[in-house]
């Protein structure tokens, strides 16, 4: 059995709710001119959203208190240093993955 109708419908549902937020802004800005203040606001989105995604990976929200996830936090440091030092996406990814692999296998 490769799949079921209900699974295909579920995937299509998820595809639609993922697709709509991606596409709507592209249609929106073609038809409405965004005010200057919104454009200025949008300039801050890249740095804010990328740092929020990084910090989210450092947090452990399972317990009663939100704490730092030690594995991600330890891996964060060499990964950040390599990113600053090399400005290279691929090298940063290699170092990050290797660090986590070492942490998971030897500690």
């Amino acid at each position: 059995m490769m799949t079921t109708l209900s699974m295909v419908l579920l995937i299509l549902g998820c595809a639609f709710v993922t697709w709509a937020p991606r596409v709507i802004p592209f249609i929106l800005v073609r038809n409405i001119e965004l005010p200057n203040v919104v454009l200025r606001w949008l300039q801050f989105i890249p740095v804010c959203i990328l740092s929020a995604l990084v910090f989210q990976s450092l947090l452990n929200t399972e317990g009663k208190f939100v704490t730092l996830n030690w594995e991600s936090t330890i891996a964060f440091m060499p990964t950040l240093l390599v990113a600053i030092w090399t400005k290279s996406l691929s090298k940063t990814v290699v170092v990050g993955v290797l660090t986590v692999a070492v942490l998971r296998n030897f500690f």
Partner: protein, 239 residues
Amino acid sequence: MATDVKVDEHVTKDSFIQGMKDCIPTLLGYISIGFAFGVVGITSNLSILEIFLLSALVYAGSAQFIFTGLYMAGAPMSVIIITTFIVNLRHFLMSLTVAPYLTRYSALRNVGFGSLLTDETFGVAVTKMGREQHLGGRWMDGLNLTAYLTWIAACVVGGLVGNWIPNADAWGLDYALVAMFIALLVLNLADAGKKKLMHYLKLIGCVFGILYILSYFMPGHLAVLFATVIVATIGVVTE
């Protein structure tokens, strides 16, 4: 329109091949995470066809993992769809950031740009926007299609070999995504001037504080969204 940006000599030629080339540094991330997803999917009893459909139609790493987790846990359809929506809502902000640079293209092409927007292609595109204040459509297509096809291939290959490597978790492949976010953040900061950099660093401090507090009240993906919206507003006010 807002796209009325000056094109100066620093703008590289709008070429599909250049878009593919600029995608290459992120491919390692797509391959690692896609492969990891394929392995997780097949070991969670998804079929290869389902892995293919998820990667081709949903095309969003973290959402695909969460989908699989919820599906295995027997969550109702509505919960899975709503969760997927929330997890991917950040793309709305990302699209909104990139879209003003591409309004000169047809509606259909814009639908194409938007459909294939991911965290990583967003990161690469905004880095280019920061440097050149300009984006080309052919370049976007080259970037997007390279990422898309690599992602699908990596997911399917992971699914095909997944049953033979039960402990993929130990490889740390899931961290590729975080590592990529870190690198994209650094690349974006590296292009800012000194004064702007200080402002950004303060804002990043705000992001951490606000994200931490919000994490007590809402799921992580919503916290990311709200923290971004709040701190970008602080950014405009304190500019």
